[in-house]
Structure formats: structure tokens, C-alpha cells
Symmetry: C2
Subunit: 286 residues, 2 copies
Amino acid sequence: MTTKNANAATAASRTGTPRSNTLARVLTALVLIPLVLALVAWAPRWLFSAVVTLVAVAALREYLALAAQSGLGPLTWFSYAATAVLVFWAPLAESPALLVLAALALAARPARSLEKALPGAAASVLGVLYVGLPLAMLSDLRRLFDGPRWVIYVLALTWVSDTAAYFGGRAFGRHKLAPRISPGKTWEGAVASLAVSLAFGMAYLAWMRPDMGLAWSGSISAAVNIARQAGDLVESAVKRGAGAKDSGSMLPGHGGLLDRIDALLFAVPALWYILSLRVSWLLSPF
Amino acid sequence: MTTKNANAATAASRTGTPRSNTLARVLTALVLIPLVLALVAWAPRWLFSAVVTLVAVAALREYLALAAQSGLGPLTWFSYAATAVLVFWAPLAESPALLVLAALALAARPARSLEKALPGAAASVLGVLYVGLPLAMLSDLRRLFDGPRWVIYVLALTWVSDTAAYFGGRAFGRHKLAPRISPGKTWEGAVASLAVSLAFGMAYLAWMRPDMGLAWSGSISAAVNIARQAGDLVESAVKRGAGAKDSGSMLPGHGGLLDRIDALLFAVPALWYILSLRVSWLLSPF
């Protein structure tokens, strides 16, 4: 998988043509988006958690392949189990010490190469916290008052801003944003993404929470957009650093699942922290 | 430092003589133990936290050298800052997502090698959570009712069981416990360590909490001892995996500081979890 993708990456950067099929991409989105929205709005809590857990485990599989390709020797089954427990059940997030000590003890066991004790434990802990924890936070977000609406807000903002970056970049893109890790991205696309996120987020929150001022809804949407763009770049860097272009090829035309959710892995914690702080002081001005 | 230590390790395993000077070891202990006990018993909260923070940062320095030697390219200043904040202030422990996202974003920044994005973030996050979090828990433990006594319990249990393992191993040691990572350790030493921990822990807790039955005080002491021995082995594996014998040479005759506190890095979380559970059900039978 990875060798093929690395070749594809080289070919793509040589010819300048995007590898993904636009039709397949649009069709997959047309099927997936209504399904996801229905799930967020109406699924019982256990079903939503179960689906998010499956997404986390599938994305973790791609992360573990990248970590293995970087020579880190991650713990496979332990990482799956810890991620599933974390996303479905969550108390692990409040006590990462248990995760860390178990990962170290397992990574240092006699059956493994001693050189992989530290790198293997480190890669496993990072995988569970990078992929699993934000998805646990997504489940947690949905349990809030207005939870499903906050989840749709962060998902929709992520999709809308991705599309804005793509078309904004195609129309106006001249200055490369991060040529080393994501050659297609431009500063113009990033600004388009931020502008459209602001407009969308302020409109959505004005509908969802008419009592929230535009300064708040704009700040929240800007913060989530910036986190989302950082998440996208970080995943590209991790992927390129491991020598792959796509993290996997699960969704037709969309590259890997990790590629699809990379923005959410930063956007969800950003929103989660903002809403946590809200409890003490952010809500008061609303 | 590390090359010298690696040579020393080879020499020591060849000749079978321990490298550390016993007199220096005993003298250092005779100075340090009363100082530590006084600090635990009488220091104001800020001073105790400050000393624990310094210990964490100094031990992290040795961890970062091991991680760098393993080729992981950890983030130095970020790891120090995150550890200091965590140990001195603690809320980071309840929100590892912030730590993880910041580490990923910094490890993927343009000034660094792309190949070190994932390994560098992973090694930094593990360092903060492996070295910093247990020491944050030690500060937290001291804030409990009877906190200083619990801290002295876990410190004393660790010292007593280390000494028991050493002399028990010297007197009766025949079966190697983990020849690959710690050639001096024997199963006989491990059993002596457990037995002496049980005796010491049951006596100490009978004095500290006369209402606690021997079944509880024995179970707690056994759990802390097993965690403590695991912590010792894990640190040896990490060290050997990186090609070093001692993690540093800060304390005369005692190897590195990380070597000195490796047992605590597992024993403290074990006791912390036991006492956290106690709140709901462990205390009721006392």
C-alpha cells in the first residue's frame, strides 16, 4: 500500500495532476454526508459511540502503518484496544498515566526488540491520544446540551472550509503555503477557507444560538478553522515524513480515512476546549 | 556521556563487577534521605511542588538524551515547559489533547526534518507523560488528607524494597530475572523485594491507619511493589535499547537521576489509582 502511494505521490508531484478522481470524490461525499448528519441528529448514544469507535480504529490502522514505516515499532493490538476503550468509554482520557505505563511495560517485554521499547511505546501512546482522544471528545461533545448541533457545526465547518480552500486555491492560489508537505495548498486557499468558515460559522451559530454575539461566534469559528488547517498540515507532514502520500485508500477518491478526518482531530479538541471554558466564563456574555 | 556509559556497561557485564562505588552510594543516601523526609513532612506546598518540578525536569533531561540517541528527535524546550507546567500546576494532566496537538504542530514545523515529525512528537508526549505525570501525581498525593504520610509510604517502600532486592539477590540469587536488560537482577531478589515490601508496608500502614485491615495494607503494598519492580525494568529496557547503561551521572554512585526515580514513576501512579478508587469503595471497609 505505502510503496504504491509513495510512487503515486512522486508521479503526482511530477505531472502536477491530482491523483484522486473528482467524480468518485463527489459521489462518496453525496452518500456519506447525509448518512453522517442522520447519525449525529438521531442515532441513540450507544450507536453514535460505536460508529465513532469504528472510525477511530480504522483511522488508527492507517496511523500505525505510518508509525511502523517510520521504524517506530508501535504496539498494534494494545493501541486498538486502548483507542476503543477510550472512545467508547472515555475515563482513560482523564488518566493517561495508565495508558503510558501499560504501553511502556508492553513495549519493553522480552518478545520485542529492545531498541523498539521507547519508540514503540511513544508511537502507541501518541496514536491513541492523537487519533482516539479527539474522537472521544466528539462523542463527549454530542452529550452536551445542544450536543448534536455542536457536532454538526464542527463537521460542517470542516467540510465547508475544505471546499473553500480547494476552490479558493484553484481560483486565486499563487503563494504556496507549505510546499514541502502539501504542494497543492496556497495562502490564498487558506484565507478563503478562513473567510468562508467565518461566514458559515457566524450564520450557523446565529441560527443555533441567537443570544450569542457575532464577536463570539466569529472568534469560535476562526479558532476552529485555524485548528482545522493546522490538523490538515500536521497529518500531511506525518504522512510525508513516513514516505506516503495517502494514509490509506478506504474511501473512493478521498485517499485514506485518516486524510479525511485529520482536520477534525484538531478542530474537535479546539471546540471542546472552548466549550469547556464556556462553563466558567464564556457562556456568561451570551 | 552515553558512549562512556555504553562502554562502562560492556565492561561491567564482562567482568561481572558493579560499576557504582558503594561508599559514595551509601553517603549520598545518608545525606539525601533525611532531606527528602524533611521536605515531605514540613515544606510548604509551593516548595514541595518546586522541588518535584526540578526533579522532573532533571530526569526529563536524561530521558530526552535517551530519546535523541534512539533517533527520535524529541522537542527539547517544549517538553521541559510542558513538564514544568504539568508538575507545578497539573490541569494539563486532565487534558492531554492540548499537549498532543501542540507537540504535533511543533514537531511538524518547517525548521525540523520531516522524518522526525511523528517520532519527535511521540517521544516528547511520552516523555512528559512518563516522567512528568507521575511526579505531578506525587504532588497531588501530598495534598490528600494524610498526604505527607502516603508520600513517605511510597518513597520508603521503594527504598526498602530496592535494598531488599539487592541483598536478597546477593545472598540467594540464582535465577536471572531479565538477563537481557538488567543482568544483575534475579527472581530471588524480586521475591525478597516483595516479601520485605509486604512486611514493611503492613507495619507502616498498621501505624498510619490502624483501622485498615492487613488484607488491604498487604494488597496495596504488593501492588505498589510490583509496579515499582516493573518501573525499574522498563527504565532499564529503555536505557539499554538506547545503548546506555546509566541514564546520567547526577548522583554520585547512583547512576542517573532517572535511574533513581524509575521505580517511583510506576509506583506513584499505582498508589494514586488505588487511593482514587478508595474514594468510592476502597475506604468503606477500613
